[in-house]
């Protein structure tokens, strides 16, 4: 039972354009959402997060949007750079005391020069 789903296994974008990565969830108890970025042979690193009381959070070139009614969030990267090429994982927290995260399957982003 995949409670967090990233339906696009891969995305290819031209340098300078916008990258949009999508994530859907099914558990209405989730109240905190995160994006992690992973390079080959490395562990995932935290990128950006959003609380369910907000619908947008921005950090430089990265913006996360949350649509609670649709149980959908997206990560926008503008402008995309070749160094952004990585696997992006969406994760959700169900409000437990100990920060247990449920991850999606990941989306491979390739930014072409």
């Amino acid at each position: 039972d995949q409670q967090v789903k990233q339906n696009s296994p891969s995305l290819s974008v031209q340098e300078g354009r916008i990258s949009i990565l999508n994530c859907d969830y099914t558990n209405s108890m989730f109240d905190y959402f995160l994006w992690y970025k992973k390079y080959p042979a490395e562990g995932p690193t935290f990128l950006i997060s959003i609380s369910s009381i907000k619908d947008k959070n921005e950090d430089g070139r990265f913006t996360v949007f949350l649509n609670k009614s649709a149980k959908h969030l997206s990560l926008h990267i503008v402008p995309s750079q070749p160094g952004d090429s990585a696997v992006y994982f969406c994760a959700a927290n169900g409000g437990t005391s100990y920060g247990k995260l449920t991850f999606g399957q990941g989306t491979i982003l390739t930014v072409h020069p």
Binding site: Y32, P44, A91, F103, G104
Partner: protein, 116 residues
């Protein structure tokens, strides 16, 4: 700088052998997580600990997997006996435990396990 370390980075073993993976969390972090990355499932949570006590190991096959924290600086994940379907990358992550649901998890580089 503070990092989560994992050993070994790569492990190739034969079916039936015991495998032990080790993790050193960031000093001062009291919450430790074990994940497995597979192509189909993405990152699956296997088990996690807070203050060395296991909180949830429901994601772990109990008959062959075991996770422990002998002390605050070491977490271990053992597979005995190993099977080819256990081949995956295993990640350890740690967190401060102070921010409850918004705590950032810091991941180690992973152990790539191949069971022949």
């Amino acid at each position: 700088d503070a990092r989560v370390t994992q050993t070994p980075r790569d492990k190739v073993t034969e079916m039936g052998q015991e495998v032990t993976m080790r993790c050193q969390p960031i000093l001062g972090h009291n919450t430790v997580f074990w994940y497995r990355q597979t192509m189909m499932q993405g990152l699956e949570l296997l088990a996690y600990f807070r203050n060395r006590a296991p909180l949830d190991d429901s994601g772990m096959p109990k008959d062959r997997f075991s996770a422990e924290m002998p002390d605050a600086t070491l977490a271990t994940l053992k597979i005995q006996p190993s099977e080819p379907r256990d081949s995956a990358v295993y990640f350890c992550a740690s967190a401060t435990g102070r921010l409850a649901g918004t705590d950032t998890q810091y991941f180690g580089p992973g152990t790539r396990l191949t069971v022949l």
